[in-house]
């Protein structure tokens, strides 16, 4: 029982709210600190591709955005599942705080992908397995947010959309392995755990820097959003009223 109380202390919105407030600036600064060298490497250090010329520089945001779209979904589903099983409010708030950012990165992956596809494949869009599954991912995010918005009772909304998020997890491996399983237009993974990167070191560094920048950005934004969410859902709680009065 004592352990339980301890656990709930850290996961209680009331204690998390000020903590999140303190963490936001750090992550925001970190995001900026990764972005600047990231952009420098992407445009000035990495050499032009011998086949694609300069167009391949889209990769430095396309690939991190595509990664983020999948990572965020997994993290979101994890939080949602935790909220469902442990009935902890903060977890479901984190899940709904991550969704819009995840949807945005999915959109960016699609957008940058089709801007890249036009010069490379000659088409904005093809019905390739990876492209289609990424589109499906966007729909999953939108579905998650719409379901959440359509239910008035916040607790029920959180639980229902958690079920949806968990069901949608099956799509992630499909996206990831789609290039492996089917011969498609889209290129396969060039970075694998077993073999390491198969590209120029400077390209790899640029990509990693941009990915880190996106990560830091995501954390900062999610914390901001979860703070709003906490205030909105707990607006009748005593501590919120006190915090407001204190802020005056």
């Amino acid at each position: 029982m004592a352990k339980k109380i301890n656990w709930f202390k850290y996961s209680s919105p009331q204690t998390f709210y000020p903590l999140a407030g303190k963490m936001i600036p750090w992550f925001a600064v970190a995001a900026l600190l990764f972005t600047l060298p990231g952009l420098y490497f992407s445009f000035f250090v990495a050499p032009p591709d011998y086949q694609q010329g300069e167009a391949y520089r889209i990769m430095f945001i396309h690939v991190p955005a595509a990664w983020m779209s999948m990572f965020i979904y997994m993290v979101m589903a994890g939080y949602a599942g935790m909220g469902l099983v442990l009935n902890s409010r903060l977890s479901s708030m984190m899940a709904s705080a991550l969704a819009p950012t995840g949807a945005m990165f999915t959109f960016l992956a699609l957008w940058t992908g089709s801007l890249w596809g036009k010069p490379m494949w000659g088409a904005w869009w093809v019905w390739d397995a990876r492209l289609t599954s990424e589109l499906i991912l966007l729909f999953l995010y939108i579905g998650f947010m719409s379901l959440y918005a359509a239910i008035d009772e916040p607790r029920r909304a959180a639980r229902a959309s958690a079920v949806l998020a968990l069901v949608g997890v099956v799509n992630i491996p499909i996206i990831y392995f789609s290039v492996k399983w089917w011969n498609t237009l889209h290129q396969g993974s060039s970075i694998t755990a077993s073999k390491g990167p198969t590209m120029a070191a400077s390209m790899f560094i640029a990509m990693m820097l941009m990915a880190m920048a996106f990560w830091m950005y995501t954390i900062a934004v999610a914390l901001m959003r979860v703070r709003c969410e906490i205030l909105e859902r707990e607006r009748h709680a005593e501590w919120v009223a006190e915090a407001m009065r204190g802020a005056k």
């Binding site: 008035d152 009772e153 607790r155 009748h236």
Partner: protein
């Protein structure tokens, strides 16, 4: 047997009740009182496990109903605002199916007898949708004769019933209490149960 402790119910922005405690022993009837919108239906749905309470706990034989789940449902019959009657099925079919799902054996003659007792003799084979409002309600109530559960949770069982039917249901309740059953009910009408202990809760201001 049934213990409710520190129960809280929140609907929308409104806290309907909080810190509610009561317990119910065999042979007791709990009459939940209160004005329209005071939260009676909400309370009953919590007690039968359809809604999770915002706060507090409900225990059956000492165990939380959340963990008992199906084992609790074995002992409970709930009758809500909605009767749970399929309009396309006949009264007979409705009752046979609900009995089978509840895991009790309900041979046809027993069901026909139950319907007869509620004044629906000769109407067993009409689809429920042509029945009048009160007759539909009677079909729903006939379930009480067929189940053999210990806790009955009845949300306004007397609406739409005529005087004769109200009498039949009151007898039914008396007998159930006499046999050591428990009842929780809401109604805006007067209840008159000779046997058993009647306790009251009043919701709202």
């Amino acid at each position: 047997m049934l213990e409710v402790s520190n129960l809280e119910c929140v609907r929308g922005d409104r806290r309907l009740f909080a810190g509610m405690n009561f317990s119910l022993q065999p042979g007791e009837l709990l009459h939940v009182h209160g004005a329209n919108g005071s939260g009676k239906t909400s309370l009953l749905r919590m007690v039968c496990g359809l809604t999770a309470p915002a706060e507090g706990e409900i225990r059956w034989n000492g165990e939380s109903i959340r963990s008992l789940r199906e084992d609790y449902f074995k002992d409970v019959t709930y009758l809500g605002h909605l009767g749970g009657i399929k309009e396309e099925l006949t009264a007979l079919e409705n009752l046979r199916i609900s009995s089978e799902l509840a895991g009790v054996d309900a041979p046809e003659d027993k069901v026909v007898a139950a319907l007869g007792k509620l004044g629906l003799g000769g109407r067993e084979d009409l689809p429920a949708k042509v029945l009048s409002q009160g007759q539909k309600r009677r079909v729903a109530l006939a379930r009480l004769l067929l189940c053999n559960t210990r806790l009955w949770i009845l949300d306004e069982p007397f609406t739409a019933l005529d005087v004769a039917a109200v009498g039949v249901v009151q007898d039914l309740l008396s007998q159930h209490l006499h046999n050591g059953g428990m009842v929780i009910l809401t109604t805006h009408q007067e209840v008159d149960i000779p046997a058993g202990t009647v306790r009251r809760i009043h919701l709202g201001l």
